[in-house]
Subunit: 202 residues, 2 copies
DNA sequence: CAGGACTTTGCCCTTCGGTACAATATATTT
DNA sequence: AAATATATTGTACCGAAGGGCAAAGTCCTG
Protein backbone atom coordinates (compact mmCIF):
# COMPACT_ATOMS: atom_id res chain seq x y z
CA UNK A 1 0.00 0.00 0.00
CA UNK A 2 3.00 2.27 0.32
CA UNK A 3 3.42 4.52 -2.68
CA UNK A 4 6.64 4.26 -4.66
CA UNK A 5 9.41 6.63 -3.66
CA UNK A 6 11.72 8.53 -6.00
CA UNK A 7 14.86 10.38 -5.01
CA UNK A 8 15.88 13.31 -7.16
CA UNK A 9 19.28 14.83 -6.62
CA UNK A 10 22.54 15.26 -8.44
CA UNK A 11 24.40 14.33 -5.28
CA UNK A 12 24.68 10.61 -4.70
CA UNK A 13 25.86 11.33 -1.17
CA UNK A 14 22.64 13.15 -0.43
CA UNK A 15 20.58 10.38 -1.96
CA UNK A 16 22.45 7.88 0.17
CA UNK A 17 21.73 9.95 3.24
CA UNK A 18 18.03 10.04 2.49
CA UNK A 19 17.95 6.34 1.71
CA UNK A 20 19.70 5.51 4.96
CA UNK A 21 17.51 7.77 7.05
CA UNK A 22 14.28 6.42 5.62
CA UNK A 23 15.27 2.86 4.83
CA UNK A 24 14.75 3.31 1.11
CA UNK A 25 17.81 1.67 -0.35
CA UNK A 26 15.89 0.44 -3.37
CA UNK A 27 14.12 3.69 -4.24
CA UNK A 28 14.35 4.89 -7.80
CA UNK A 29 16.87 7.65 -8.32
CA UNK A 30 16.65 10.32 -10.98
CA UNK A 31 18.88 13.27 -11.79
CA UNK A 32 16.27 16.01 -12.17
CA UNK A 33 12.62 16.93 -12.47
CA UNK A 34 12.59 16.73 -16.23
CA UNK A 35 13.56 13.08 -15.99
CA UNK A 36 10.72 12.50 -13.56
CA UNK A 37 8.21 13.94 -15.95
CA UNK A 38 9.56 11.90 -18.82
CA UNK A 39 9.44 8.73 -16.75
CA UNK A 40 6.17 6.93 -16.33
CA UNK A 41 5.86 6.95 -12.56
CA UNK A 42 2.75 6.04 -10.62
CA UNK A 43 0.44 8.85 -9.62
CA UNK A 44 0.95 10.12 -6.09
CA UNK A 45 4.40 8.68 -5.86
CA UNK A 46 6.49 10.27 -3.16
CA UNK A 47 9.26 12.40 -4.60
CA UNK A 48 12.17 13.64 -2.52
CA UNK A 49 13.52 16.56 -4.49
CA UNK A 50 16.81 18.28 -3.85
CA UNK A 51 16.44 21.96 -4.67
CA UNK A 52 20.14 22.71 -4.52
CA UNK A 53 21.32 21.55 -7.87
CA UNK A 54 18.24 21.78 -10.03
CA UNK A 55 16.68 24.88 -11.45
CA UNK A 56 13.56 23.36 -12.92
CA UNK A 57 11.27 25.04 -15.36
CA UNK A 58 7.95 26.27 -14.11
CA UNK A 59 6.18 23.70 -16.16
CA UNK A 60 8.21 20.86 -14.71
CA UNK A 61 7.45 22.06 -11.21
CA UNK A 62 3.73 22.19 -11.84
CA UNK A 63 3.55 18.88 -13.59
CA UNK A 64 5.54 17.09 -10.94
CA UNK A 65 3.61 18.55 -8.03
CA UNK A 66 0.28 17.70 -9.57
CA UNK A 67 1.17 14.18 -10.51
CA UNK A 68 3.18 13.23 -7.47
CA UNK A 69 3.60 14.26 -3.87
CA UNK A 70 6.73 16.32 -3.90
CA UNK A 71 8.86 16.84 -0.82
CA UNK A 72 10.90 19.90 -1.67
CA UNK A 73 14.17 19.72 0.24
CA UNK A 74 16.46 22.71 0.24
CA UNK A 75 20.02 22.95 1.46
CA UNK A 76 19.43 26.55 2.38
CA UNK A 77 15.74 26.90 3.17
CA UNK A 78 14.21 30.29 2.65
CA UNK A 79 10.63 31.17 3.31
CA UNK A 80 10.12 32.65 -0.14
CA UNK A 81 11.37 29.51 -1.79
CA UNK A 82 9.09 27.40 0.38
CA UNK A 83 6.09 29.55 -0.39
CA UNK A 84 6.74 29.16 -4.05
CA UNK A 85 6.91 25.39 -3.91
CA UNK A 86 3.84 25.07 -1.76
CA UNK A 87 2.03 27.29 -4.17
CA UNK A 88 2.81 24.89 -6.94
CA UNK A 89 1.47 22.09 -4.79
CA UNK A 90 4.46 20.59 -3.03
CA UNK A 91 3.53 18.41 -0.07
CA UNK A 92 6.41 19.50 2.12
CA UNK A 93 9.26 21.96 2.30
CA UNK A 94 12.14 21.19 4.61
CA UNK A 95 15.89 21.12 5.00
CA UNK A 96 17.68 18.72 2.68
CA UNK A 97 20.16 17.78 5.40
CA UNK A 98 17.58 17.35 8.12
CA UNK A 99 18.32 14.92 10.90
CA UNK A 100 17.10 11.40 10.16
CA UNK A 101 14.40 11.82 12.79
CA UNK A 102 13.02 14.99 11.30
CA UNK A 103 13.25 13.66 7.78
CA UNK A 104 11.39 10.54 8.84
CA UNK A 105 8.72 12.69 10.39
CA UNK A 106 8.27 14.80 7.29
CA UNK A 107 8.17 11.66 5.22
CA UNK A 108 5.58 9.99 7.43
CA UNK A 109 3.42 13.06 7.40
CA UNK A 110 3.34 13.23 3.63
CA UNK A 111 2.92 9.51 3.29
CA UNK A 112 -0.23 9.61 5.36
CA UNK A 113 -1.67 12.37 3.24
CA UNK A 114 -0.55 15.37 5.25
CA UNK A 115 1.47 18.39 4.40
CA UNK A 116 4.57 19.47 6.22
CA UNK A 117 5.79 23.02 6.54
CA UNK A 118 7.92 24.87 9.03
CA UNK A 119 6.43 27.36 11.35
CA UNK A 120 7.41 30.63 9.83
CA UNK A 121 6.11 29.64 6.43
CA UNK A 122 2.82 28.61 7.94
CA UNK A 123 2.46 31.99 9.54
CA UNK A 124 3.14 33.73 6.26
CA UNK A 125 0.59 31.51 4.64
CA UNK A 126 -1.98 32.38 7.24
CA UNK A 127 -1.08 36.03 7.05
CA UNK A 128 -2.13 36.07 3.44
CA UNK A 129 -5.71 35.29 4.00
CA UNK A 130 -8.10 37.70 5.50
CA UNK A 131 -7.66 39.94 8.46
CA UNK A 132 -4.35 40.29 10.15
CA UNK A 133 -3.05 37.42 12.15
CA UNK A 134 -2.26 37.42 15.83
CA UNK A 135 1.28 38.50 14.99
CA UNK A 136 2.82 39.04 18.36
CA UNK A 137 2.34 42.74 18.80
CA UNK A 138 4.38 45.03 20.95
CA UNK A 139 1.85 44.98 23.72
CA UNK A 140 1.71 41.22 23.63
CA UNK A 141 5.31 40.50 24.51
CA UNK A 142 5.66 43.52 26.70
CA UNK A 143 2.79 42.38 28.84
CA UNK A 144 4.63 39.20 29.71
CA UNK A 145 7.72 40.98 30.96
CA UNK A 146 8.33 42.86 34.16
CA UNK A 147 9.24 46.53 34.03
CA UNK A 148 12.95 45.92 34.40
CA UNK A 149 12.92 43.09 31.90
CA UNK A 150 11.36 45.43 29.39
CA UNK A 151 14.12 47.94 29.98
CA UNK A 152 16.78 45.34 29.33
CA UNK A 153 15.06 44.06 26.21
CA UNK A 154 14.66 47.57 24.87
CA UNK A 155 18.39 48.16 25.24
CA UNK A 156 19.13 44.77 23.74
CA UNK A 157 17.13 45.71 20.65
CA UNK A 158 19.63 48.48 20.05
CA UNK A 159 22.44 45.99 19.85
CA UNK A 160 23.99 46.84 23.18
CA UNK A 161 26.23 44.51 25.17
CA UNK A 162 25.46 43.42 28.70
CA UNK A 163 28.08 45.79 30.01
CA UNK A 164 26.53 48.65 28.09
CA UNK A 165 23.08 47.84 29.33
CA UNK A 166 24.36 47.64 32.89
CA UNK A 167 25.86 51.11 32.62
CA UNK A 168 22.77 52.50 30.98
CA UNK A 169 20.40 51.18 33.65
CA UNK A 170 22.91 51.74 36.45
CA UNK A 171 22.88 48.17 37.66
CA UNK A 172 25.50 45.42 37.70
CA UNK A 173 26.20 43.25 34.71
CA UNK A 174 25.15 40.22 36.71
CA UNK A 175 21.70 41.72 37.15
CA UNK A 176 21.39 42.28 33.43
CA UNK A 177 22.20 38.63 32.89
CA UNK A 178 19.62 37.62 35.46
CA UNK A 179 16.92 39.60 33.71
CA UNK A 180 17.93 38.23 30.36
CA UNK A 181 17.90 34.66 31.59
CA UNK A 182 14.38 35.23 32.81
CA UNK A 183 13.32 36.75 29.48
CA UNK A 184 14.87 33.88 27.54
CA UNK A 185 12.81 31.43 29.55
CA UNK A 186 9.61 33.34 29.04
CA UNK A 187 10.14 33.31 25.31
CA UNK A 188 11.62 29.85 25.10
CA UNK A 189 14.81 30.94 23.36
CA UNK A 190 18.44 30.17 24.04
CA UNK A 191 20.23 33.44 23.51
CA UNK A 192 19.89 37.14 22.67
CA UNK A 193 20.05 36.56 18.95
CA UNK A 194 17.11 34.21 18.92
CA UNK A 195 15.21 36.58 21.14
CA UNK A 196 15.80 39.39 18.72
CA UNK A 197 14.59 37.26 15.86
CA UNK A 198 11.49 36.30 17.80
CA UNK A 199 10.73 39.92 18.52
CA UNK A 200 11.42 41.31 15.08
CA UNK A 201 9.62 38.45 13.36
CA UNK A 202 6.40 39.82 14.75
CA UNK B 1 14.98 20.35 25.99
CA UNK B 2 11.41 19.22 25.37
CA UNK B 3 8.83 21.90 25.94
CA UNK B 4 6.24 21.33 28.66
CA UNK B 5 2.96 19.81 27.54
CA UNK B 6 -0.51 20.78 28.70
CA UNK B 7 -3.71 18.87 28.06
CA UNK B 8 -6.91 20.87 27.90
CA UNK B 9 -10.18 19.01 27.87
CA UNK B 10 -13.21 18.56 30.05
CA UNK B 11 -13.11 14.84 29.39
CA UNK B 12 -10.68 12.94 31.56
CA UNK B 13 -11.13 9.94 29.29
CA UNK B 14 -9.87 11.93 26.33
CA UNK B 15 -6.96 13.29 28.33
CA UNK B 16 -6.10 9.73 29.37
CA UNK B 17 -6.19 8.69 25.75
CA UNK B 18 -3.83 11.44 24.72
CA UNK B 19 -1.52 10.75 27.61
CA UNK B 20 -1.41 7.05 26.76
CA UNK B 21 -0.81 7.65 23.08
CA UNK B 22 1.99 10.08 23.63
CA UNK B 23 3.46 8.81 26.88
CA UNK B 24 2.60 11.98 28.73
CA UNK B 25 1.18 10.67 31.96
CA UNK B 26 2.59 13.55 33.95
CA UNK B 27 1.47 16.38 31.67
CA UNK B 28 -0.36 19.24 33.26
CA UNK B 29 -4.13 19.12 32.76
CA UNK B 30 -6.38 22.14 32.63
CA UNK B 31 -10.11 22.48 32.10
CA UNK B 32 -10.16 25.24 29.50
CA UNK B 33 -8.27 27.95 27.66
CA UNK B 34 -9.06 30.61 30.19
CA UNK B 35 -7.25 28.55 32.82
CA UNK B 36 -4.27 28.27 30.51
CA UNK B 37 -4.05 32.01 30.10
CA UNK B 38 -4.31 32.54 33.82
CA UNK B 39 -1.58 30.03 34.50
CA UNK B 40 2.00 31.11 34.08
CA UNK B 41 3.15 28.52 31.57
CA UNK B 42 6.41 28.67 29.66
CA UNK B 43 6.34 30.27 26.24
CA UNK B 44 5.90 27.84 23.37
CA UNK B 45 4.57 25.10 25.59
CA UNK B 46 2.71 22.44 23.68
CA UNK B 47 -1.01 22.58 24.28
CA UNK B 48 -3.36 19.80 23.25
CA UNK B 49 -6.74 21.47 23.09
CA UNK B 50 -10.05 19.67 22.82
CA UNK B 51 -12.40 21.81 20.77
CA UNK B 52 -15.47 19.79 21.63
CA UNK B 53 -16.28 21.06 25.07
CA UNK B 54 -14.87 24.52 25.07
CA UNK B 55 -16.20 27.57 23.32
CA UNK B 56 -13.38 29.96 24.07
CA UNK B 57 -13.51 33.68 23.63
CA UNK B 58 -11.68 35.16 20.69
CA UNK B 59 -9.24 36.78 23.03
CA UNK B 60 -8.42 33.54 24.77
CA UNK B 61 -7.80 31.88 21.43
CA UNK B 62 -5.45 34.59 20.31
CA UNK B 63 -3.57 34.79 23.53
CA UNK B 64 -3.10 31.05 23.79
CA UNK B 65 -1.99 30.64 20.19
CA UNK B 66 0.49 33.45 20.48
CA UNK B 67 2.05 32.30 23.68
CA UNK B 68 1.98 28.55 23.16
CA UNK B 69 1.89 26.05 20.35
CA UNK B 70 -1.69 24.95 20.25
CA UNK B 71 -2.74 21.64 18.76
CA UNK B 72 -6.43 22.14 18.05
CA UNK B 73 -8.11 18.77 18.21
CA UNK B 74 -11.69 18.50 17.10
CA UNK B 75 -14.07 15.60 17.52
CA UNK B 76 -15.79 16.64 14.30
CA UNK B 77 -13.17 18.27 12.13
CA UNK B 78 -14.42 20.74 9.57
CA UNK B 79 -12.25 22.69 7.19
CA UNK B 80 -13.77 26.01 8.19
CA UNK B 81 -13.06 25.34 11.83
CA UNK B 82 -9.51 24.35 10.99
CA UNK B 83 -8.95 27.45 8.91
CA UNK B 84 -10.14 29.58 11.77
CA UNK B 85 -7.76 28.04 14.27
CA UNK B 86 -4.82 28.19 11.92
CA UNK B 87 -5.65 31.79 11.26
CA UNK B 88 -5.35 32.50 14.94
CA UNK B 89 -1.98 30.78 14.94
CA UNK B 90 -2.66 27.20 16.00
CA UNK B 91 0.18 24.83 15.19
CA UNK B 92 -2.02 21.92 14.17
CA UNK B 93 -5.59 20.95 13.47
CA UNK B 94 -6.54 17.31 13.64
CA UNK B 95 -9.07 14.81 14.88
CA UNK B 96 -9.30 14.58 18.65
CA UNK B 97 -9.72 10.82 18.52
CA UNK B 98 -6.94 10.19 16.06
CA UNK B 99 -5.13 6.89 16.16
CA UNK B 100 -2.14 6.89 18.48
CA UNK B 101 0.16 6.73 15.47
CA UNK B 102 -1.32 9.75 13.78
CA UNK B 103 -1.51 11.68 17.02
CA UNK B 104 2.12 10.92 17.69
CA UNK B 105 3.01 12.17 14.23
CA UNK B 106 1.12 15.40 14.68
CA UNK B 107 2.69 15.84 18.07
CA UNK B 108 6.21 15.20 16.80
CA UNK B 109 5.72 17.62 13.97
CA UNK B 110 4.67 20.42 16.24
CA UNK B 111 7.31 19.61 18.79
CA UNK B 112 10.01 20.07 16.22
CA UNK B 113 8.65 23.43 15.22
CA UNK B 114 6.41 22.41 12.36
CA UNK B 115 2.79 22.84 11.62
CA UNK B 116 0.43 20.02 10.87
CA UNK B 117 -2.62 20.25 8.69
CA UNK B 118 -4.60 17.82 6.63
CA UNK B 119 -4.43 17.87 2.91
CA UNK B 120 -7.70 19.57 2.07
CA UNK B 121 -7.05 22.47 4.38
CA UNK B 122 -3.62 22.96 2.94
CA UNK B 123 -5.02 23.13 -0.53
CA UNK B 124 -7.53 25.74 0.48
CA UNK B 125 -4.80 27.69 2.11
CA UNK B 126 -2.64 27.58 -0.98
CA UNK B 127 -5.55 28.48 -3.21
CA UNK B 128 -6.01 31.67 -1.27
CA UNK B 129 -2.78 33.25 -2.08
CA UNK B 130 -3.25 33.74 -5.73
CA UNK B 131 -0.53 34.18 -8.24
CA UNK B 132 1.42 37.08 -6.92
CA UNK B 133 4.81 35.88 -5.91
CA UNK B 134 7.28 37.38 -3.53
CA UNK B 135 8.99 40.53 -4.66
CA UNK B 136 12.63 39.99 -3.95
CA UNK B 137 14.25 43.12 -2.66
CA UNK B 138 17.06 41.46 -0.85
CA UNK B 139 19.42 41.65 -3.78
CA UNK B 140 20.89 44.93 -2.59
CA UNK B 141 22.78 43.74 0.44
CA UNK B 142 23.32 40.31 -0.98
CA UNK B 143 25.22 41.80 -3.88
CA UNK B 144 27.90 43.06 -1.54
CA UNK B 145 28.63 39.62 -0.18
CA UNK B 146 30.35 36.64 -1.71
CA UNK B 147 28.35 33.47 -2.26
CA UNK B 148 29.68 31.79 0.84
CA UNK B 149 29.20 34.86 2.95
CA UNK B 150 25.59 34.94 1.87
CA UNK B 151 25.17 31.35 2.99
CA UNK B 152 26.57 32.15 6.40
CA UNK B 153 24.43 35.24 6.80
CA UNK B 154 21.33 33.32 5.77
CA UNK B 155 21.99 30.77 8.48
CA UNK B 156 22.76 33.49 10.97
CA UNK B 157 19.39 35.03 10.31
CA UNK B 158 17.86 31.84 11.59
CA UNK B 159 19.53 32.33 14.93
CA UNK B 160 22.08 29.57 14.47
CA UNK B 161 25.38 29.38 16.34
CA UNK B 162 28.72 29.24 14.56
CA UNK B 163 28.97 25.55 15.29
CA UNK B 164 25.53 24.97 13.79
CA UNK B 165 26.34 26.93 10.69
CA UNK B 166 29.57 25.01 10.27
CA UNK B 167 27.69 21.71 10.38
CA UNK B 168 25.04 22.98 8.01
CA UNK B 169 27.51 24.18 5.38
CA UNK B 170 29.93 21.34 6.06
CA UNK B 171 32.89 23.57 6.80
CA UNK B 172 34.91 24.19 9.96
CA UNK B 173 33.79 26.59 12.64
CA UNK B 174 36.92 28.61 11.99
CA UNK B 175 35.82 29.22 8.41
CA UNK B 176 32.45 30.40 9.55
CA UNK B 177 34.16 32.88 11.81
CA UNK B 178 36.34 34.05 8.94
CA UNK B 179 33.33 34.71 6.73
CA UNK B 180 31.54 36.50 9.53
CA UNK B 181 34.51 38.73 10.31
CA UNK B 182 34.56 39.69 6.66
CA UNK B 183 30.84 40.42 6.63
CA UNK B 184 31.13 42.51 9.79
CA UNK B 185 33.73 44.66 8.11
CA UNK B 186 31.67 45.11 4.98
CA UNK B 187 28.75 46.31 7.04
CA UNK B 188 30.74 48.22 9.58
CA UNK B 189 29.32 46.40 12.58
CA UNK B 190 30.95 44.79 15.58
CA UNK B 191 29.04 41.58 16.11
CA UNK B 192 26.27 39.31 14.85
CA UNK B 193 23.61 41.11 16.82
CA UNK B 194 24.32 44.46 15.22
CA UNK B 195 24.49 42.80 11.83
CA UNK B 196 21.08 41.33 12.32
CA UNK B 197 19.69 44.70 13.31
CA UNK B 198 21.23 46.31 10.26
CA UNK B 199 19.75 43.69 7.98
CA UNK B 200 16.26 43.63 9.43
CA UNK B 201 16.10 47.39 9.59
CA UNK B 202 16.84 47.68 5.89
C1' DC C 1 1.56 37.34 58.21
C1' DA C 2 2.95 34.05 54.73
C1' DG C 3 3.72 33.24 50.16
C1' DG C 4 4.88 34.92 45.76
C1' DA C 5 6.67 37.72 42.08
C1' DC C 6 10.26 41.24 41.22
C1' DT C 7 14.91 43.37 41.78
C1' DT C 8 19.43 43.21 42.95
C1' DT C 9 24.21 41.29 43.44
C1' DG C 10 28.38 38.29 44.16
C1' DC C 11 31.43 34.32 42.89
C1' DC C 12 32.57 30.98 39.82
C1' DC C 13 32.28 28.17 35.86
C1' DT C 14 31.63 26.84 30.94
C1' DT C 15 30.83 27.89 26.39
C1' DC C 16 30.57 31.01 22.61
C1' DG C 17 32.11 34.83 19.68
C1' DG C 18 35.56 37.50 17.55
C1' DT C 19 40.18 38.32 16.18
C1' DA C 20 45.37 38.29 15.56
C1' DC C 21 48.65 35.85 12.93
C1' DA C 22 49.26 32.83 10.23
C1' DA C 23 49.07 29.14 5.82
C1' DT C 24 47.20 26.89 1.44
C1' DA C 25 44.37 26.49 -2.56
C1' DT C 26 41.59 27.95 -6.59
C1' DA C 27 39.79 31.19 -9.78
C1' DT C 28 39.73 35.37 -12.21
C1' DT C 29 41.64 39.43 -13.82
C1' DT C 30 45.18 42.40 -15.42
C1' DA D 1 53.02 35.67 -15.00
C1' DA D 2 51.48 38.52 -11.27
C1' DA D 3 47.95 40.29 -8.66
C1' DT D 4 43.56 40.06 -6.56
C1' DA D 5 39.53 37.99 -4.60
C1' DT D 6 37.67 34.03 -2.63
C1' DA D 7 37.51 29.90 0.24
C1' DT D 8 39.45 27.12 3.55
C1' DT D 9 41.67 25.86 8.04
C1' DG D 10 44.79 25.95 12.14
C1' DT D 11 46.40 27.62 16.95
C1' DA D 12 45.84 30.62 20.36
C1' DC D 13 44.06 34.39 23.04
C1' DC D 14 40.63 37.20 25.37
C1' DG D 15 36.46 39.06 26.39
C1' DA D 16 31.35 38.36 26.15
C1' DA D 17 27.49 35.65 27.21
C1' DG D 18 24.90 32.54 29.86
C1' DG D 19 23.83 30.13 33.93
C1' DG D 20 24.26 27.52 38.73
C1' DC D 21 24.19 28.54 43.57
C1' DA D 22 23.22 31.71 47.05
C1' DA D 23 21.46 35.62 49.23
C1' DA D 24 19.71 40.03 50.06
C1' DG D 25 15.67 43.38 49.92
C1' DT D 26 10.90 45.37 48.22
C1' DC D 27 6.09 45.15 47.22
C1' DC D 28 1.69 43.10 46.82
C1' DT D 29 -2.07 39.75 47.75
C1' DG D 30 -4.76 36.33 50.01
Amino acid sequence: MNAPVILITASSALADGWADSLGLQDALRLPDLAALNRANVAADSLVLLDLAATTPSEQDMQQACQHCRVLALSSLPRDEEGMMWLQYGAAAYAHAMSTPDLLQQVFDTVQSGGTWVGRSIMQQLCARFGRQLPARTETDWRSRLSAREQDVVAALREGRSNKDIARQLDISERTVKAHLTSVFQKFGVEDRLQLLLKLTAA
